[in-house]
């Protein structure tokens, strides 16, 4: 069905209708409707069910969550020590580690890119 362009009067009538619907007062309340108790109860039930699921499946670890996931600053201290220790072991493995690695990989693996093959003179 093709429709002719509306007249000015028809556009004015539409503006009046839009304004009337936009400003339609809601009985017994102010400018916004008061949701029924039943509606709010349903929405709250949805919220509680979804919240249980959300907390059970941890949220994506964003930058704000990683610290809590690791147990906070006290745990981070321990992790820092472990991290540094791991780096040291990798850069300058004591002889025992070399032997273990050789056993596992079938060959001696030695990394000396920093010239720190025995920085603490453990191998005497």
């Amino acid at each position: 069905m093709t429709m002719a362009e509306p007249t000015i009067a028809e556009m004015a009538a539409l503006d009046a209708l839009l304004a009337e619907v936009a400003d339609a007062p809601v009985p017994e309340s102010g400018p916004l409707p008061v949701p029924s108790d039943d509606l709010m109860a349903r929405i709250l039930a949805d919220a509680e069910a979804a919240q249980v699921r959300a907390v059970a499946v941890p949220p994506r670890v964003g930058w704000r969550n990683w610290l809590a996931a690791l147990g906070g600053w006290p745990a981070l201290g321990g992790m820092a020590v472990a991290g540094v220790t791991g780096l040291w072991l990798g850069v300058a493995p004591p002889a025992a580690v070399d032997e273990l690695v050789a056993e596992m990989l079938g060959e001696t693996v030695s990394v000396d890119f920093l010239g720190l093959s025995d920085p603490f003179e453990l191998e005497g």
Binding site: M3, T7, L14, A16, L18, E20, P33, P35, E48, A50
Partner: protein, 199 residues
């Protein structure tokens, strides 16, 4: 319009208390959901009522929009979109989904008898006015219906609508203008079908 005056600041750097509550909800805060509902549900319900002119459908849309909010809460990032912007979009989409389903009902089926001595708006009283507008909105393409509703029923500015619909302000103006011409033509078309002229 009152609805526009209740909208929080548009400035991107202004904090979004709704967003903060949503993050708290996602982290298990036991009172955040109620606070969010008190703040958000009346406006969502009002938007749905104005677009759909049907209380039961408006309540269903409000419940569905809030359900989507609860589900997105774990992924919500503060400082990006505002919750109110997101809700306007979701509610508008849910409403046009419902309006689209109404298109199978011919406009004649919801037409009100018209007196040729008065305008269409004058002849449609109270609740019927809302229903007539909803029926006309249902005949529009979704995005035209959304643009017109957000502009003229919710009282939002073109930049606000552009953010909600994720389009340019020029696109908003174009959609609104085309939507209004189509609405006026639809409502006038009803008069024409009943044999009344514009005189």
């Amino acid at each position: 319009m009152l609805s526009a005056r209740t909208i929080q600041s548009d400035a991107p750097e202004a904090p979004d208390p709704d967003g903060a509550l949503l993050v708290a909800y996602a982290n298990g805060d036991p009172t955040a959901a109620r606070d969010l509902m008190t703040r958000l549900v009346p406006r969502v319900l009002a938007q749905a009522q104005r677009m759909l002119a049907d209380q039961a459908e408006a309540e269903d849309v409000a419940q569905e929009a809030m359900m989507r909010l609860w589900k997105i809460a774990p992924d919500w990032r503060q400082g990006e979109a505002r919750v109110s912007t997101w809700l306007y979009r979701v509610t508008a989409n849910l409403c046009t989904d419902r309006l689209r389903k109404r298109r199978t009902v011919p406009l004649e089926a919801v037409a009100e008898p018209l007196d040729n001595a008065a305008s269409v708006a004058d002849q449609i009283q109270g609740r019927s006015r809302m229903q007539a507008l909803a029926a006309a909105l249902a005949s529009l393409p979704d995005r035209q219906a959304q643009a017109v509703s957000l502009r003229h029923l919710e009282g939002l500015s073109n930049p606000q609508i552009a953010e909600i619909m994720d389009i340019s302000t020029e696109a908003v103006e174009s959609l609104t203008a085309r939507g209004k011409r189509a609405l006026a033509a639809v409502l006038a078309g009803r008069k024409a079908e009943l044999g009344y002229d514009d005189g």
